[in-house]
Subunit: 244 residues, 2 copies
DNA sequence: CGGTCCGTTGAGAGTGATCAACGTTAGTGG
DNA sequence: CCACTAACGTTGATCACTCTCAACGGACCG
């Protein structure tokens, strides 16, 4: 199977040798069954993970038992990067669906920085995009209503799935429980249910089992707290002096 | 004045030539008066900023006018990095106090990645630490009470100021309005006032004009939603194969 | 001295949480 | 293939944390 390059290639064009390097990573994927942990908070940090297929989640547990889901990861994402600066993993990574991913050991990251400026730039810029996504999430959760958060989440998810080629006609798989969405958006499962029902009743979305269809993008955007920032694409690379 | 190296050197030991390079950046600092913008959302992205002295903030505005403060920046921080992947700045940077900072143009970042793996690693790891901080903030705002958020914020601020050498005996400057804290923690200014008063009345903190003293660290930690993750320090660099 | 910003305090309202119950779906084992 | 069970989704009633609106005092600045 062709690894999902769309995230790595978003800002930097990869050379054939870069592509081969990544393909080398993806040669022996590790499979994890849905609902199984990939790496737990507190585990040793042996490297990062490149998600090849399936959905994953990263989350943090608070002392009172509350869980905050940080992000839903889709194919093409790099997982576990932030924990590189911690003495043990700072987030739990788990499979939402069956997933296929390849571990990238610490030493490989060091070699990359040392010898491959182009892929390093791709990683560095990708990380900045993750920061932008976190800033967005923080903004939604910090200052938008439940309805607005949900709308923003669904639109964002749609766009990310679309980039990965996983949307057909506004319809996409949706393997998330309402409890999970609650932990992601800072709401209770009960309120998630009411909010989704409201979006459904208004005609913005349609819910089937395990799938969602966005019926009215404009409507969703109108209740969304903001418009997503426009990515720079390859211009980001050329701006900092990169050669095509 | 000696530039604040403590952030850049946290994970990677810098060589004398690295240090000189950074000193070169800091040779001609730009000064910005308090409450003045450094760069506005939507402005062109000409580079990033290295904060030499003073406090700054990054924030995002929502369509309904709500402001979410993303982070309070202290001396030694790099500002505006996430916007590198956007077609225009995705966050507003502004001076909280009078500020001294040096602009690092885009091209300098590209040259760094190309020619200086050590400083590149320092930047990459620093960015991961920023992601961890964002994850923390998201967790607090998503699933902790006003009191817990405030406690966590004060403890975190104390620790960061301490790293920069700006704390004396638990006391530090505190130039933030309650409105600002509200925008940071996802609360209203009124509720910030009540929450701070509660922490004060309980004896956890003492407020003087423009300053705060933390009187009872254990007490604050006990109401805080979690303990901060432990940074790996230089081990992060050696783990990925970096030479001392 | 007057104006503006900031902090403080009170009263009332509302969004979302909590508690609880029930129906439905999916997974498991006989 | 069916019975059993646990997980998930749905709905109602009530509660409370935080917001909203409003007013006032003090500090700083022109």
């Amino acid at each position: 199977m062709q690894p999902p390059f769309h995230r790595l290639e978003e800002f930097v064009g990869l050379t054939p040798s870069d592509i081969n390097l990544v393909r080398g990573w993806a040669a022996n994927p590790r499979r994890v069954a849905r609902h199984q942990p990939i790496r737990r908070e507190g585990d040793p940090v042996n490297g990062v993970f490149f998600l090849l297929a399936g959905w994953a989640a990263s989350s943090v547990i608070l002392r009172d038992g509350q869980r905050q889901v940080i992000k839903v990861h889709l194919p093409g994402d790099m997982l576990g990067f932030p924990s590189l600066v911690l003495s043990s993993a700072g987030e739990t990574l788990e499979a939402i669906t069956d997933v296929s991913l390849c571990p990238i050991p610490n030493a490989a990251i060091g070699r990359l920085i040392e010898h491959n400026p182009r892929l390093t730039a791709a990683l560095l810029l990708n990380t900045q995009k993750e920061r932008v996504a976190l800033m967005q999430a923080l903004t939604w959760i910090g200052s938008a209503s439940a309805l607005a958060r949900m709308a923003a989440f669904l639109l964002d998810l749609h766009d990310r799935l679309d980039s990965a080629g996983l949307v057909i006609d506004g319809t996409f798989d949706f393997p998330l429980t309402q409890q999970f969405i609650g932990d992601l958006l800072g709401l209770t499962a009960v309120h998630v249910n009411r909010t989704l029902k409201r979006l459904d009743a208004t005609g913005y979305v349609d819910r089937k089992k395990g799938q969602i269809t966005i019926l009215d993008f404009e409507g969703l955007r109108s209740v969304s707290p903001n418009l997503p920032p426009e990515p720079a694409g390859r211009a980001a690379w050329s701006r900092i002096g990169g050669k095509a």
